[in-house]
């Protein structure tokens, strides 16, 4: 999900001044005028999102452990430790590598598959099922299937290739293998997004272009690609945000190995917090990553705004 500027207030909604009733508290008035609708959500939101964010900040300033005993205030020590923690930066580097490898692949493959499925007349449901089905798998199933495919001696891949490819045995290969498995697993979602976008392009654009003598490639470059640009932007953002949080499949396929060369930063945080009992330090790491992710999001927002400003479009 992506970050959003607050939407403009609904048009044509006259702010009817709430009639004051004596003896009603301010909160009561809020509740009467619609507060009850949002209250349940805000409770969940407050307890399971805002509170962890705030308390996480507090935990990160303490030597807090999983059992909640012997807590000690240590100020910024956790952050100081984190800045010198090679394991943090290595694992963050792995996460970034993973993101940088996967995102362009997802965009290209999803677009290609969607173009294909869109232009084949028959059996739409089949193409959707075939390319989207992997997205429905739990990560544990994905991990099982691909560990078996990658198995060095008896795996399908090495036997089909008749070669001992070190899929999960060497760092660079292992990262590539994770990207490949993830591509297979998640591309279906972006594929559907592209498919919906392609279907929304009015036919008359293509017809007009064809009359002007544009060939299929020209039509694709001059009509299709620009028309799906917004969706592409969306896919890139969703993909980046999802990839920065990658954990499940890497943890389940080979637990970040070999030599921690695929270990993502989320796994490192979990290891510190749960294997090492150090919730305080894990919270500090979380905050560092959180700030980085928010920064990415804000840069993206800023870029979008700049672009739309330059074009004078409101989209």
């Amino acid at each position: 999900m992506t970050a959003l500027a607050p939407a403009p207030a609904p048009p044509g909604a006259p702010e009817t001044a709430p009639a004051r009733r004596p003896g009603r508290s301010r909160l009561g008035r809020i509740m009467q005028h619609g507060g009850w609708f949002v209250a349940p959500f805000l409770v969940f939101y407050g307890v399971f999102l805002v509170w962890p964010l705030v308390s996480g900040l507090w935990y990160s300033l303490n030597e807090t452990n999983l059992a909640g005993i012997n807590t000690e205030f240590i100020g910024l020590d956790n952050y100081r430790e984190a800045l010198n923690d090679d394991q943090l930066w290595d694992s963050l580097g792995n996460t970034l590598t993973f993101t940088a490898m996967l995102t362009p692949l997802i965009v290209a493959v999803a677009f290609g598959l969607a173009l294909l499925a869109h232009n084949i007349k028959h059996g739409k449901w089949f193409w959707r099922l075939a390319f989207f089905a992997p997205f429905l798998l739990p990560s544990a199933v994905l991990a099982d299937l691909w560990r078996w495919l990658y198995e060095p001696d008896y795996g399908l891949f090495n036997n089909a290739l008749n070669e001992r490819v070190p899929w999960l045995l060497e760092g660079d290969w292992a990262m590539f293998s994770m990207v490949l498995a993830t591509l297979w697993w998640t591309v279906g979602f972006s594929f559907l997004l592209y498919l919906a976008a392609l279907q929304a392009i009015p036919d008359h654009l293509y017809e007009a272009a064809a009359l002007d003598g544009a060939g299929p490639w020209q039509r694709m470059w001059h009509i299709t690609v620009p028309m799906v640009r917004n969706i592409t932007g969306l896919i890139v953002v969703l993909q980046i945000l999802a990839s920065l949080q990658v954990f499940d499949q890497i943890f389940l396929i080979n637990e970040g190995g070999p030599n921690n060369e695929t270990r993502p930063v989320v796994q490192y945080i979990i290891q510190q917090g749960f294997t090492g009992y150090r919730i305080g330090y894990a919270s500090a790491l979380s905050y560092i990553v959180f700030v980085l992710i928010v920064a990415v999001t804000l840069v993206r927002l800023w870029l979008v705004r700049k672009r739309t400003d330059e074009k004078g479009e409101t989209r």
Partner: protein, 450 residues
């Protein structure tokens, strides 16, 4: 939660064979006869009060079935004590839960812990000491255990864990592969292999016979590399940390020697990393280095194999081992009938651990270790000597099953074994990692101090 943790879990074991169960039952009879009076005494002293006890453990699979069977027999023998057992998931999540319960003082009466984890588990704060007087009443004394094992479970003069078993690193050997290589004695047991050269010669001979890599050992797994290193490094006579677990005691030359050997196993293709060890052994592999609990899978596969502690490659006999210990998680005001019942239960479990041994673990209670029925178990009794040469994790908070040390140091060991760094580089990394772990405050604090 780490690489190691998922893999180095307490063994999921298959069901014991029927014959084994019968043998176990026979042993049980003997054990009961042996200590019957003491047991009755404590049962009688439990005439009143709350005798419902909660028991948390992390045994699933065959281990779990075994434990449930033992508990059923306990219930039959002590109808006055109601045992409510809960099986929880292995690894980090189990320790987390047990620690949380102990911190809140609302813990179960009895739990299971890995010995290596004890130092980090705030004994005295998250764990209550065991009353050795009550144990003695139930017929369990220090003399009934290997002294090293018992003393490792003793902190600040108090016993915090009653050892149920040890589960050592084992070398499994395939008789069909070793026989033609001339490595078996008249009784079909592996001949002694001393020193790395003799060991590698044996591997070469087996390679000739089976036409594939002779050793199943997964250098890719940090946890498995850690076990191997703990065992082999102990064979050089060194220890990784000082005796109190606060100082680095690693000897660089010895560590490098061990790492060079581990790397050679991979470089010369004695062992192929990433192999599924059961698959390897089932497909005619020669040796497998792993924890004793693989025995169950191998037996299920119907293989003719033996198992013994690690061969002595560096002078001093030693093999890595962990131990399941029975602990009393911290309760506010632990006392009275329930407390006595808890002691009765843990004492009974170790005294009746013959059927526990059936599923491959080495019983910690020496009378069982010397029991004729245990000695008759093959290949279990073949590695019973592991008790005398067991090398445990250093006594520091970050050690033990699925701990930080397994993941963080293990990864450097694995890198060296895989040949991606030299042994010297790995030792430097290991030093740095241990240094930083030692510099990190024990998260749960020093238990006894509080």
């Amino acid at each position: 939660m780490t690489h190691a943790s998922l893999r180095s879990l307490p063994p999921p074991l298959g069901r014991p064979s029927r014959r084994g169960l019968l043998r176990g039952a026979a042993g049980l009879g003997a054990a009961v006869a042996l200590g019957g009076s003491a047991a009755c005494g404590s049962a009688a002293s439990l005439a009143g009060g709350d005798r419902r006890i909660q028991f948390w453990n992390l045994f699933s699979g065959g281990d779990g079935a075994n434990m449930r069977g033992m508990l059923d027999r306990f219930r039959a023998e002590f109808p006055g004590i109601e045992v409510e057992d809960t099986t929880l998931a292995w690894g980090d999540r189990y320790y987390t839960k047990l620690a949380m319960a102990g911190a809140g003082g609302r813990a179960p009466d009895v739990g299971i812990l890995h010995l290596g984890r004890l130092a980090g588990f705030a004994p005295g704060r998250l764990l209550d000491p065991i009353d050795t007087g009550l144990l003695a009443e139930a017929g369990v004394r220090r003399e009934d255990f290997n002294a090293t094992l018992w003393d490792r479970a003793t902190i600040g003069g108090e016993l915090y864990g009653l050892p149920l078993d040890i589960h050592p690193s084992t070398m499994f050997y395939n008789r069909a592969a070793c026989e033609p290589a001339g490595l078996l004695d008249a009784e079909g047991r592996l001949t002694e292999l001393n020193g790395t050269e003799q060991f590698l010669d044996a591997l070469d001979a087996v390679r000739e016979v089976i036409g594939q890599s002779p050793l199943g050992w997964n250098a890719l797994m940090p946890g498995e590399c850690w076990w191997t290193f703990v065992g082999l490094y102990a064979q050089t006579g060194g220890s990784i940390l000082s005796e109190d677990g606060t100082e680095l005691a690693l000897d660089d030359d010895r560590a490098e020697e061990v790492l060079a050997f581990m790397a050679r196993l991979v470089a010369d293709e004695y062992a192929i990393p990433g192999q599924d060890l059961v698959g390897y052994f089932v497909n005619g592999g020669g040796f497998v280095l792993f924890g004793n609990w693989l025995l169950v899978d191998f037996r299920t596969a119907g293989l003719d194999f033996g198992a013994r502690p690690y061969p002595t490659l560096f002078g001093t006999p030693a093999t890595q081992a962990e131990s399941h210990i029975l602990v009393l998680p911290h309760q506010e005001g632990r006392s009275g009938a329930a407390d006595e019942a808890a002691h009765t239960l843990i004492a009974w479990l170790v005294r009746n651990s013959l059927s526990w041994a059936e599923a491959s673990h080495v019983p910690a209670y020496l009378p069982i270790l010397e029991h004729p029925d245990y000695l008759a178990m093959e290949p279990q009794s073949e590695y019973r000597g592991a008790m005398d040469i067991a090398a445990f994790d250093p006594p520091a908070w970050f050690c033990g099953t699925s701990s930080r040390v397994q993941a963080d140091v293990g990864v450097h060991l694995s890198a060296a074994a895989m040949g991606s760094v030299t042994p010297a580089e790995a030792v430097r990394d290991i030093r740095a990692t241990l240094r930083s772990l030692l510099d990190t405050r024990n998260p749960f604090g020093e238990g006894t101090a509080s």
